[in-house]
């Protein structure tokens, strides 16, 4: 048998291109359905785990999927914002604890998540170095952001302007890093967390500038009417919040009118959850309430439907490939009839000659199975990271 395997190996090694093509085809055909299944399972787990940990999300009426993707994964287009009063309304109902979210801005491609410190408790996020934000202008980085940007506590990140042509607002804000989170293997690793007021400062509706009562700035004052002061553009606006200028930052108007993208609600029990959802059933209601687990389940249903189509396609292609491989093998046998006759004439038994031919096929099949199993193992090991990377993209 050893000699038969040696001859089979020599044949396959000599015809390496043919062997490679056969091996690749068989490996892929075996791997694709299984690997896809593993990947979809891991995607499902990744998506549902976070959704299951987020009971309810309130946001402006529109696509629930967009709302959930933005709130949970900091992805999708910026959803229609709603007023901060919506958060106060949920909180005041006493039916849930809330975490406000404003996910609109970015810094070097990483989402800036405006929220409250309750978010970290709710997501069970631990600080690896430093502390959580206390003041506006401070930020806490997800582990992968810090690694990608090569920054540490005490460094700073600058928000990216959303619209280069908007000269009236959205000036880049330099934010001091006060903490870096431990890796959580979730979208939180890729986010920059700030107090929700910081995002309003990025938006330009909260700002800090020279004190108009200050001697240097006094020349910029155009008019005074009680508390209302109008100054010209020579007044210096701060693009960084420091201990020295912290008191100069302020918000105009009513905070309850300020924008947020979502409110994550954590009802204490089923009854509170049901009551809260009931409050948003009114057709006149301008906000919607979504259950992330249901929204993601719908999305997964769609993915699974697509997966079943892909699997069916893979099976058909697999059958065609195996048929082609069998045909190639049978044609090869015909072409090798003289070789088989020679082997028989010099003393090889028909069983030996048959075993030689079969060994070649078995060798390719077994190697293909081993490679496919190896790829499946790698997928099961690194698929989660791949899924996370795909979710980040």
């Amino acid at each position: 048998m050893k000699q038969t395997l040696y001859l089979a190996w020599r044949y396959l090694a000599f015809h390496r291109l043919k062997t490679f093509i056969l091996l690749t085809s068989i490996t892929l055909i075996l791997y694709l359905p299984v690997g896809l299944r593993v990947l979809v399972n891991q995607s499902s787990q990744q998506l549902t785990r976070r959704a299951d940990a987020t009971p309810l999300v309130v946001g402006s009426k529109g696509s629930p999927l967009e709302l959930v993707l933005n709130t949970l994964y900091f992805r999708s287009d910026f959803p229609e914002p709603m007023r901060y009063s919506e958060a106060q309304k949920v909180r005041d109902s006493g039916l849930a604890r809330i975490v406000p979210m404003y996910v609109r801005y970015h810094s070097r491609g990483h989402p800036i998540v405006g929220t409250s410190v309750d978010y970290f408790d709710r997501r069970e996020l631990a600080v690896q170095t430093g502390r959580l934000f206390t003041f506006v202008g401070e930020c806490v980085l997800g582990a992968r952001v810090a690694e990608a940007l090569g920054v540490h506590v005490g460094d700073a990140v600058i928000s990216s302007p959303e619209n280069l042509f908007d000269l009236a607002g959205e000036y880049p804000l330099k934010m001091t890093i006060v903490g870096i989170l431990a890796q959580a293997d979730s979208p939180d690793d890729d986010a920059i967390f700030v107090d929700i007021k910081t995002t309003w400062i990025i938006e330009g509706i909260g700002h800090g500038h020279q004190d108009v009562a200050d001697g240097e700035a006094a020349g910029a004052v155009l008019s005074r009417d009680g508390n209302r002061v109008v100054a010209n553009a020579s007044i210096v606006k701060y693009n960084e919040i420091t201990e020295d200028n912290l008191d100069e930052f302020h918000f105009h108007g009513d905070l309850s009118d300020y924008p947020i993208t979502a409110v994550v609600a954590f009802p204490p029990d089923q009854k509170s959850s049901a009551l809260l959802q009931g409050r948003y059933e009114n057709a006149d209601e301008r906000a919607q309430i979504a259950r992330p687990s249901e929204v993601m389940a719908e999305l997964l249903d769609t993915i699974l439907t697509i997966e079943s189509f892909v699997l069916a396609g893979a099976v058909i292609v697999g059958i065609a490939t195996l048929a082609s491989a069998s045909l190639v093998f049978m044609l090869s046998l015909r072409l090798r009839r003289r070789e088989m006759e020679t082997l028989f004439k010099i003393g090889g038994s028909r069983a030996n000659v048959g075993a030689l031919m079969a060994s070649e096929m078995v060798f390719v099949l077994v190697t293909g199975i081993v490679l496919a199993a190896g790829l499946t193992f790698l997928t099961s090991q690194f698929g989660a990271a791949l899924v996370r990377a795909l979710i980040r993209m």
């Binding site: 000599f14 082997l343 010099i346 003393g347 030996n352």
Partner: protein
Amino acid sequence: MKAQRPPELMSSPAIRIQDLSFGYGEGDFELRIGKLEVGRASSAAFIGPSGSGKTTLLHLIAGITLPQSGKIETNGVELTGLSENARRAFRIKNIGLVFQEFELLEYLTVLDNVLLPYRINAALELTEAVRERAANVAVEVGIGDKLSRYPSQLSQGERQRVAVCRAVVTEPAVLMADEPTGNLDPRNKGRVLDILFDYVETSGTTLLTVTHDHDLLDRFERIVDFKELLS
């Protein structure tokens, strides 16, 4: 390339055929031989027109096929009464075959081609001594420096020498060559024949050769003309 033969066998002819009759299932070809003997350590050339049964006779003598009737005794063994497996075992130990088209395996090196009988037959053990013998035989026929090459990298003459090495590496009692020089130029023809006859002379092997080349006949001890044999 010397091989020792049992003394008790040396008294009988290497090939003894009596009242042989063979025909294929279809067609009107029929081979009938009343009596044919070829002595040991001798050389015989089978000549005759194409389709007269020369190659078929070699196959019958080698035990590859069986006649419908008659007796074939090769190296003292009556083949017609043996099973296919027994004939195969006999062939492995007693017969060396050289083909007109060389029939080398393109995916094996020269050395692996020479050792092929040991790789395809479980009855033959591939030992270090066998490897050494194969290398020595290759050196003797002038291809010792080409052991790691593939057949496609050799000339026609070199390929036939590889085929000869493969046939003699098992030290057969009977060496059969079917048109061994049919695909060779005159210089290589002479070289291959020299190798075959040198082997016969030094090993005491019986050489049976099918040939159409009448220029070579004077080198054989015996000429078997199928026109006369079958008449």
